[in-house]
Symmetry: none
Subunit: 206 residues, 4 copies
DNA sequence: TATGAATGAGTATTCATTCAT
DNA sequence: CATGAATGAATACTCATTCAT
């Protein structure tokens, strides 16, 4: 993704390595118990080098979140644009979110667990980007409502939060538990059914 | 002295005061940025006194979780026992969980946000008590399935995780956002509809 | 020793129990790593009780030293008074000091090792009592010199320090090492020979 | 910068400065009452810097002992190698040990007083190096015995402990007392006479 | 750009001592 | 006399961050 041109400089490689090292270390130890020195070592750079690319330790976590959620939003929007059925769109979003989790377990841990350090932190850094994701989902819901496929009494925003939350809850128990990928795939299907049936308009149009 | 209610010993009062102070401080600063000295001051005890009642700072967080979730489980089980309709049971659980959140915002923040410090932490301390809560929900789902009211292809455990997660997601955005209680109440109703309709068996029984 | 009359009150028993507990705990952990609470528990009294008998933790160590060295001086002076030959007196002192060590290993550890916490401590508390012991030895040396049995060019004080030090050195290695009593007895005999021969006047009187 | 002698690296300078500061502070306050912060200030480094060179506070004391006793052993062995008469060798060892004490009073205090913190400490850290010193002395004694100059019934090891102890006893009273160097020099001569005469074989060879 | 030695602010925890009972 | 719950001062050590090279 995004290496379209030769735009990755040597620096960007280093930035990326640091970020990936952060994910690995944060996932293993948690944010506060992770040491910048260990991240540096894992990334194969000197401690000080990290500060050439990131303002401070907090911004490692923030950058992980911002980079990845932007990628996720881009990908979701691209995929959804190719579909017409809102229900299908929701199903695709669910698959993509849980697919990301299943493929990048460390990242999943960081985003589901470590990101929640404090309310202040979430408000200040995560909220804006997070809202973009929720808005993407809400837009699909609204489209479905306008097409008469989804019930209109459900607030698109509330549905988006519930959907995101349900998937996050499944991710949480998956990450805490043994966590084989197959189980998560089945859970994705079930969650999709619950949520889509939960909002589907009843009546003639079945 | 001070056994007003006749039941609480002096010790239990002190323990409780420390725990309430912890909730307040953790909610304001987050776990790692909270200072034991500030908790002590808020509780009106000496720093050292905290260590007469709790092993260390970690166990303040752990104890908050364990004490409150036990209370919540007890209350939920008591309420649910008085109802017969599984759908009604689910609705009551949803109301209770979001009701707790709305009434005890600080506690909600701590449980929704601060509790997630690290995977290790969650696995080691939160998982067992958390499972009790999920099991309570799953039992209701299974009951509904056996009565033919809920669709059988949905795993009760997956539904429980999704329900918990959806509510947690709503709580998260409520806590991060402005957070007026009315909004949460409406969200509770919508979430109940989504999830209950999402699992309700289709067919004759509409 | 010194229970001549019924003079031991219940209190003195408790004081003595605390002191013996201190010896045991100090010997095991060293002075600074010993906890007043552990001494109290070992003595079978409450923490606060210790402060009814001793000013503070320092004075536990001081009191051990002062009590025991007084007893030792009394005993040495009594024994020595019954002998006429100064060489024999020295031999008896050596036997008594190392005998005490062999019989009360914990006490030996405390006096040989733990007593040396700081120069200030030694100067302030140990010096006076310690000097009484050195003076007793020096008096024997002077007596021997006056009788023409010991060489006059050796300062009695220097000899006393050397004798005490030699025995303390043997005690130290005995305490650090395996420490079977037999070895110490042999060492006592050898040390006696070295030191007595070392000061004995040469010439006709062999 | 600052490689004046051309041999010491910057690091070694810093390590050495910290060690010298430790000696000064330990001598003044005793080990447990010495503050790491004061050692750092005395050494002219930041608190944390100490931990780049030493594992912890304990290892400051350990390192002082190990470094200095190694130097002492090296020096003693070198000096003794140039002499043939065992009695002369012993005299030289005594002079060197008390000479070190007289010239480095702070170090003497630390080694004689502060090093004895607990039996465990001595067993674990001091014993091995200390034994090297005792062995050096014992070897001289054995040599004297083989040459028929020293009495064979005295165990070389016991003699070594006694000699070390006698000198340590003299050092102790010197350090506690006023401690002018002249007094120690005289004591050294007297102690040498006592101990050497104490082991010298009697008979024709006077 | 990159390094990593040096910094020093910051804090959980301990434990000798007190004092209300 | 005796207790032991409560106190709170005191400190070794860590680790994010800097900056001279």
């Amino acid at each position: 993704m995004a290496k379209a041109t030769g735009e990755r400089t040597r620096s960007n490689d280093k930035r990326e390595r640091i970020l990936q090292a952060s994910v690995k270390v944060f996932a293993r130890k948690g944010f506060y118990l992770s040491r910048v020195a260990e991240i540096a070592k894992t990334a194969g750079v000197a401690d000080g080098t990290i500060y050439l690319y990131f303002k401070n330790k907090d911004h490692l976590l923030i950058s992980i979140f911002e980079d990845r959620i932007d990628e996720m939003c881009d990908a979701v929007e691209a995929q959804v644009a190719g579909l017409t059925d809102p229900a299908e769109k929701l199903r695709r979003i669910i698959d993509m979110q849980l697919g990301l989790v299943a493929e990048h377990r460390d990242l999943a841990e960081v985003l589901t667990i470590n990101l929640r350090q404090s309310t202040r932190f979430l408000k200040q850094f995560a909220a804006p980007k997070f809202n973009r994701y929720l808005d993407t989902i809400a837009a699909v819901v609204q489209e479905g409502q306008e097409k008469g496929l989804f019930r209109k009494e459900i607030s698109p925003r509330v549905f988006a939060c519930s959907l995101f939350g349900a998937l996050d809850g499944l991710t949480l128990t998956w990450v805490i538990g043994r966590g084989d990928a197959g189980r998560l795939e089945k859970a994705a299907a079930a969650a999709a059914t619950i949520l889509i049936e939960g909002i589907r308009a009843r009546g003639g149009a079945r």
